[in-house]
Symmetry: C2
Subunit: 425 residues, 2 copies
């Protein structure tokens, strides 16, 4: 890039100089220092420790231990790695397990929650929930148990914050399950987990939190909030690698009361007895099903180390500084070009991402990716999403990203791109 | 190992000299040439191509492409790799998809098959089916739709071949689904896919084959047999790595008639529209759910190459020679020590494994692993299972394995081990 694209903001450089987490950037592969990567909320960067671990798993464990690897740490990996993630989400041991995908874990836990309460028919969620979560709930209703009603609290697509009053009013005595995305994928809104969970429990409902956009970026206190269930992915702020296995959490207090709808040998009490009849394993283990992808799973385990070392309080502190700074830059640098902030102004209500809105957002996003070496992402109808990963995003990088967006606007670089929306099929 | 453990069988060496596939052994990492690895039916050896590919995925694709990797081949991987496996199982394009686990794919397909036929209540299977498959069926019956009856044809645990007459008699007009393991995990019995499928179709039942123990070792002709569904794993004879993602097959003729019970965004028509309502993707794609573990999946893709290059007919030819030879050695070398063959004598009814039975099987298996550098595995009550992977197992290795078993017996090395069974918990 040309000289005039180097960060020049004294304020950003000052923030970087004061950043206690700055050295963590060195724990990641940064092959192109000029790339402004603001999509760690979709796919986290590669931790260097993961490179070495992946090589070890393939060449030493698979290649040399062969089948013996299962007795040298593979078999226990879902619970071992689950407990490590438990430390990040405020979950004591024996409640978090790694395996399968977010959607599959939602299917298992939501179905289990409904089966536990045969006399309650309502599933409460909102339009801010990740669409795939809504699909899973629709599938449960349609295919498996058409008794249920999905109550979809309808914040409008352009809203930044949910209609909390409507959501809270909708929690009734016949609500079986309240399920929400802890941090909303478009606006970055952060729910008050404690409050919603308490309100739901007061009406006898169970609560399931999707932590995909909060784990590793926002402190989560599942045990303290007495949450019933949680699910989440490991490839965003946890940097576990593309499609790394997901996790699930089941509060100890209800583990023995519920059964998975999918019975498999990893959830069987004594899998190597090869009994013909299923007996559920104790605890949350019964929500495992089949053999997990070990190369992806164990690489992800190594990738958790920077997060565990930095600690969620430090990460949150830096994250708030970054999203505050980005909000400030949106108002001061970009508002003159027609941008508005698509995320809460109050950092207490915000995850580690912001959306900036512009009617030409789709085209601006393409210009950033194709011409400016900036990677955000775009979400309909007008959101350019900017994710800040406190482990490796620098304040200089944030400033640089905004400066390049400004340049796209000044030079009208976006005008050459078509106005269609991004549909990958 | 001592000199007298070197292969000395002129016949084995002659078979190796005549082996047209012998050079494929060089495509695999063989770090310990003295190891007799007869457990490729549990976890295949590491193809060298997978080493390079895993490194490339981590360091170049994840590390440098970052989120852009999804548009450079990751997103299409389940169908691209599915079609490659399709070539191995006789499936034309657009019917095979890679993702999730064998058990999860069984859950999706078996539930879909039952939902398609609301007036039929019987699921037909047998005690030779892999226990995890039985658990999944039991879970479907118990938790999701207690209308169904699982008809379990009860060959006794020590039987080598199924009770085909009983199985065939049990296919009734009210049978919704017949589901079997194509090759049986204990005895290695190989079902006649064509015959069972035809019999089932004659009564209007759908058929689902678990190919876990046959894919890559036995030619499979799903399209020619007009099979409805298949599932299978990729970490046994396909050498995809520990826990590599599984596959599923849905015959083109019924793809548009059925729906997955688990709706997720990878099975959604236009996933990047982020619609709030699920619309199934065309074809088998609708049986995908969530984001797949790309490091495991793409490493597995590279690992398929030796199988694709060798071709199933050549692999089957060598496999039969190996299991014939192993059966011969069982009778001639081991029978005097109390061993009997736990697999069909007729190679047409046999996969690429044999079980050898002995009342001290558990202890003999331990002595082989701990003292003799031989890796078979043990299955209750008395089976030592020996798997032969025609891509990399040599005839000399087979001979050597039997010679070491003989030595364990001559020297009564097994007697020091306890008589308990192997239970990994």
């Amino acid at each position: 890039m040309k000289k005039d694209y180097q960060p020049t903001s004294a304020y950003a450089l000052q923030l970087d100089a004061q950043d206690k987490l700055a050295s963590f950037r060195e724990a990641f592969l940064i092959d192109d220092p000029n790339l402004v990567y603001l999509d760690g909320n979709s796919l986290g960067r590669l931790p260097k420790a993961a490179i070495a671990r992946a090589k070890q798993i393939v060449e030493e464990e698979w290649g040399r231990d062969l089948i013996r690897g299962w007795n040298k740490g593979w078999w226990e990996a879902p619970s071992r790695v689950g407990d490590k993630i438990g430390k990040i989400i405020g979950a004591g041991e024996g409640q978090t397990l790694v395996g399968d995908t977010v959607s599959l874990n939602l299917f298992k836990l939501a179905t289990a929650a409904l089966m536990l309460q045969p006399n309650k028919t309502r599933i409460l969620t909102d339009t801010f929930n990740f669409p795939s979560d809504l699909y899973v709930l629709q599938g449960i209703k349609q295919n498996l148990d058409n008794r249920h009603e999905i109550v979809l609290i309808g914040a409008r697509d352009r809203d930044i914050t949910p209609d909390l009053a409507a959501l809270e009013d909708a929690i009734h005595e016949d609500t079986a399950l309240v399920t929400l995305s802890h941090v909303v994928f478009k606006s970055g809104y952060l729910y008050d987990m404690q409050r919603i969970t308490e309100l739901a429990h007061a009406k006898g409902a169970l609560v399931l939190w999707d932590l995909s956009h909060s784990v590793g970026s926002v402190p989560v206190h599942l045990d303290d909030c007495n949450a019933d269930f949680a699910i989440g992915c490991t490839y965003k702020y946890l940097n576990g690698g593309p499609g790394a296995p997901a996790f699930l959490y089941v509060n100890k207090s209800i583990q023995e009361k519920i059964t998975s709808p999918i019975w498999g040998w990893w959830g069987q009490k004594n899998p190597f007895d090869f009994d013909l009849e299923y007996t559920p394993a104790p605890g949350a283990q019964r929500f495992l099903v089949g053999t997990q992808p070990m190369i992806s799973l164990l690489t992800m385990e190594a990738a958790l180390e920077p997060t565990l070392q930095a600690g969620m309080d430090s990460l949150r502190e830096k994250s708030i500084l970054m999203t505050d700074y980005a909000s400030y830059l949106t108002s001061n640098l970009l508002a003159p070009f027609g941008f508005s902030l698509g995320s809460p102004l109050d950092s207490a209500q915000r995850g580690s991402q912001i959306s900036i809105r512009h009617e030409d957002g789709y085209r601006i996003n393409r210009a950033l990716i194709e011409e400016m070496n900036v990677i955000p992402d775009f979400r309909e109808p007008d959101n350019i999403r900017l994710g800040f990963a406190p482990l490796y995003t620098s304040f200089g990088e944030v400033w640089e990203g905004f400066d390049r967006i400004k340049r796209v606007m000044e030079e009208k670089r976006y005008e050459k791109y078509p106005k269609q929306k991004l549909t990958v099929t």
